[in-house]
């Protein structure tokens, strides 16, 4: 009941912002319904909920993605318990070291993957199968295990997978939250077309905020920089790489396999076109937001 109220309140707010007709059903019973049912629609299932959006265009698709992310949140908070995730293993003995929880999804053969990872993990690590996913709790402070995960999946198993990583945690009680974070990291990639295997929760905080920016406001911000749409793919790569390298030109040039002066020339070109200096922190932040909003509105 509490969920129903919570979902209604959220959906009402979303409807006011987007003005797109949609409905959420649970076991064929309409839970919420805004606007009028029409022929063209998108639909998706999140656990027992079905989301139906009555507008078949990019805004409708965006709304569908947003509602999916939201419902996954609700579902996980309500349904997922420690014993579900960890296969009933309440008796885990956690050491006091930092751990990261990995969720590996889209596995074509969960059993084979389970066997493979069981071989590469160490004594203090845990691995579980949960809803066609693998959950690994790895004792580590950073995300160094991501390389092993990608290597095992892409090279040994030859499976295209998506990997979500939680923030580092210590206590057993934090496992559910860690799972939630890893799942959230996974769900947000679709909205922003992040074409990579591993998604780390900690690195995507900005995305979660931007995911809730109404489309017309996102478009409005993009319109403040009309030249942005004219940037070439090379310009986008340049912006992305320089930001990924913490505005370090030498490092970015190495990563892009271009000469430092070539990179500086490209940065200068971007500045002339947009009046934003990629090497200035505040302007770089604006460019980062522009890129993400652009991806979101392209959806």
């Amino acid at each position: 009941m509490e969920d129903k109220k919570q979902i209604y309140a959220y959906c009402h707010k979303i409807y006011e912002l987007y003005q797109i007709d949609f409905a959420i059903e649970r076991k064929k019973e309409t839970l919420v319904h805004f606007g009028v049912k029409q022929k063209e629609f998108y639909s998706a299932f999140v656990q027992e909920y079905e989301i139906i959006v009555y507008q078949k265009d990019k805004q409708g698709k965006l709304l569908l993605d947003l509602l999916c992310i939201y419902l996954e949140d609700v579902f996980m908070h309500r349904k997922v318990q420690f014993k579900h995730i960890l296969d009933g293993s309440d008796d885990l003995i956690f050491n006091t070291e930092s751990k990261v929880l990995y969720v590996i999804s889209q596995l074509v053969d969960v059993d084979l993957a389970y066997e493979a990872f069981s071989n590469v993990l160490e004594k203090q690590d845990y691995i579980f199968k949960y809803q066609k996913q693998l959950i690994i709790i790895k004792t580590e402070q950073d995300y160094s295990f991501t390389r092993i995960v990608e290597d095992v999946c892409l090279r040994e198993l030859m499976m295209k997978v998506r990997v979500g990583c939680s923030k580092p945690f210590v206590e057993k009680e934090e496992v559910v939250e860690a799972y939630h974070q890893a799942m959230k990291a996974l769900s947000v990639h679709a909205l922003f077309h992040i074409n990579q295997t591993t998604h780390i929760y900690d690195e995507q905080n900005l995305l979660y905020v931007l995911a809730h920016v109404p489309l017309h406001k996102a478009q409005g911000y993009l319109d403040l920089f009309p030249a942005f749409k004219q940037l070439s793919y090379e310009d986008f790569i340049t912006i992305q790489t320089v930001i990924d390298c913490n505005l370090n030109v030498a490092q970015a040039a190495r990563k892009m396999y271009v000469h430092r002066n070539t990179l500086l020339y490209r940065i200068d070109k971007i500045q002339k076109e947009l009046s934003l200096d990629l090497l200035n922190f505040h302007d770089a932040l604006k460019l980062k937001v522009l890129i993400l909003l652009n991806e979101m509105t392209k959806n």
């Binding site: 160490e122 290597d151 892409l154 040994e156 030859m158 499976m159 295209k160 790569i237 892009m256 396999y257």
Partner: protein, 369 residues
Amino acid sequence: MATLSLKNINKKYPNGFHAVKDFNLEIADNEFIIFVGPSGCGKSTTLRMVAGLEDITSGDFEIDGVRMNDVEPKDRDIAMVFQNYALYPHMSVFDNMAFGLKLRKVPKEQIKKQVEEAAAILDLGPLLNRKPKQLSGGQRQRVAMGRAIVRHPKVFLMDEPLSNLDAKLRVQMRTEISKLHQRLKSTIIYVTHDQTEAMTLGTRIVVMSDGVMQQVDTPQNLYDHPKNLFVASFIGSPQMNLMVAGIEEENGEIVAKFDGNTITLPARHAEACKQQGYVGKRVMFGIRPEDLHDPKFSLKQFHDKISCKVTVYEMVGAEVYLYFEVSNQTMTARVDSKTEARVGDTVDLYVDTNKIHLFDMETEQKIVD
């Protein structure tokens, strides 16, 4: 081992970005194919489509005549070596190499045989009991390759496998990969941004830019006969000298004029310029640095020369690079190390006109081959 066929392959992402456009390539058995191009040109995307790690938006991909578009990556009989390889830290070299075979339930005896064979090819025999942390960078890279070799796949896919190594090790590993190809007699597709790697390893090279295949050819042909401006400037180090030149008819001869220099075009270039209507127009004139000669040390006499003022003198051992400005463009000449030219000197350099390249200014395609 295997033949591969890529027909009209396209990759379009949901956000509309067209990463690979109409890619066509037939790869013969035992070929060492290199995909080369700047970052973001679509070379890794194409490789990942071959591996099955990326869906093909349209087109057909076949291995040995069998359509692979919908075949799971694990069933394609392909092995990959990545730039960011990871060895399993608590396993020995033997176990690292045997890992994939164990997962495939290969009998123990067979695993031992295959690992030892691969170890012998890679000179890893004495290191089989060591742990990864006890290995040098080059040895680790060889173990990563060994993990692919033990599987005896039809095709090897290598995505910038040497990018994480230092310069010296890269040269060493390059040689080893070349030997490996000769020993394994397998089909290899190798992605790199490094043209030296491309030129030294490949039997054929695919040059890509903006998702489009620019040219496919042997290393020598790519270097000698680039089809367009992009290939001309991308292949070769130092890169080809390129400048805008006016094509004119002078005393019955067709000449290229730039910055006070006049170069008489050889017969086939002159004929092509006449026939295709380039006389009176501007073209992109290209000449490789080694096709400019210091008259004092040139074994051949050439009719045409350009006059220039040396701005930088760079001694690289066996030869000297002279840098100078022509039409506000920096040009390079690769001349004999005994050259007397120094910074500030005005020198005449012979132009080997048989080696010039002319490109259309708009289409950027070569005017005459």
